[in-house]
Symmetry: C2
Subunit: 196 residues, 2 copies
């Protein structure tokens, strides 16, 4: 590989590693605590080195939200694309999401649950990016609920979203893994309507 391409590839790998750490930090401690200085210390990099990748705290936060959306897509959406649309796809997506939370897809609990609660009152592009990601997730749930033949796809999407958020919040505080069984039972109950 020519020198310039090798340098660019190394830069991209470093950026990806930084964002990977940033997602976990933000999941545990919030996006507001995600400063260039804090992250530089975590990565054992200089602050100026980190500034080379992200020019400001806001740019870093936005890149982190974008990277978290990619991580979510790889864990929850891509693996189930071969499963038929509708009830089976819905069950597989929620299963994948619960696994993603359970086995530590995020070291500090679900990135989206943590940052939505944190940023909802802080108007600006970071909040908008989080809201847009959640809108897209709800829209996909609603679309699949419609294909599953559920009578009220918008209501089903809200319920599926709520069950995952409830499981995440409850698990993080109680450390009782039974909440994941509850969440799966809720999904089964919801989808039973589709097969009636």
């Amino acid at each position: 590989m020519p020198q310039a391409a090798a340098t660019a590839a190394k830069g991209a790998a470093t950026r990806a590693a930084i964002l990977d750490r940033a997602i976990d930090l933000a999941s545990a401690e919030g996006l507001e605590g995600l400063t260039i200085g804090r992250l530089a210390a975590e990565m054992e990099m200089s602050k100026s080195g980190l500034f080379g990748h992200f020019g400001s705290k806001e740019e870093l936060q936005l890149a982190t939200v974008e990277a978290a959306a990619l991580r979510f897509r790889r864990a929850v959406i891509d693996p189930v694309l071969t499963i038929p649309d509708g009830a089976d796809r819905l069950r597989a997506m929620i299963d994948a999401y619960l696994d993603h939370i359970d086995v530590g897809g995020y070291s500090g609990g679900c990135f989206w649950g943590s940052t939505a609660a944190e940023m909802d009152d802080r108007l600006g592009p970071v909040r908008d990016a989080i809201a847009a990601a959640l809108d897209a997730w709800l829209a996909e749930l609603e679309r699949q609920a419609g294909l599953a033949g559920l009578a009220h796809p918008d209501l089903a999407a809200f319920e599926l979203y709520s069950v995952v958020m409830g499981a995440n919040l409850r698990y993080r505080l109680s450390k009782d893994r039974q909440v994941f069984d509850h969440a799966r039972a809720s999904v089964d109950r919801l989808l039973a309507e589709a097969t009636k």
Copy 2:
């Protein structure tokens, strides 16, 4: 009233006013941002005056959690105590909780949703106090679900908890009040099982 009693009453009123503001601040910006200095500025008091009421940030955080539990009790539990146990009581409690979130019982969204997501990774007495309050709420939901004759009271409690948390998170980001209708429809669907 004797002078000493009047002074004590004034102190208690000031403390209550401070904690009222602290609950709203923590709902919007988190318990970690709740410093003595920040709150003193908000209340236009001196830091030393605030230190007279709360000796440390942790003591302030714990008092805020306790005051939030009292606000919750007054808004959600006390008003429905005359309603018969079971499905009617459950519906009334969830209705009261959704109203409490909707009409601004907390200026920054549900205190419990915000602080649970924030504090879940910060081991210590503040996290424990939040976890204990949520355990008590889940236990009351489960008890009432049992009295309502639901087949799986623990699952129903989890679902009711999730629906309220989902409505809060979703409303705070989308500002779409339809989520409250969805939440009420979910509760109706859940409780329909009890009356079969």
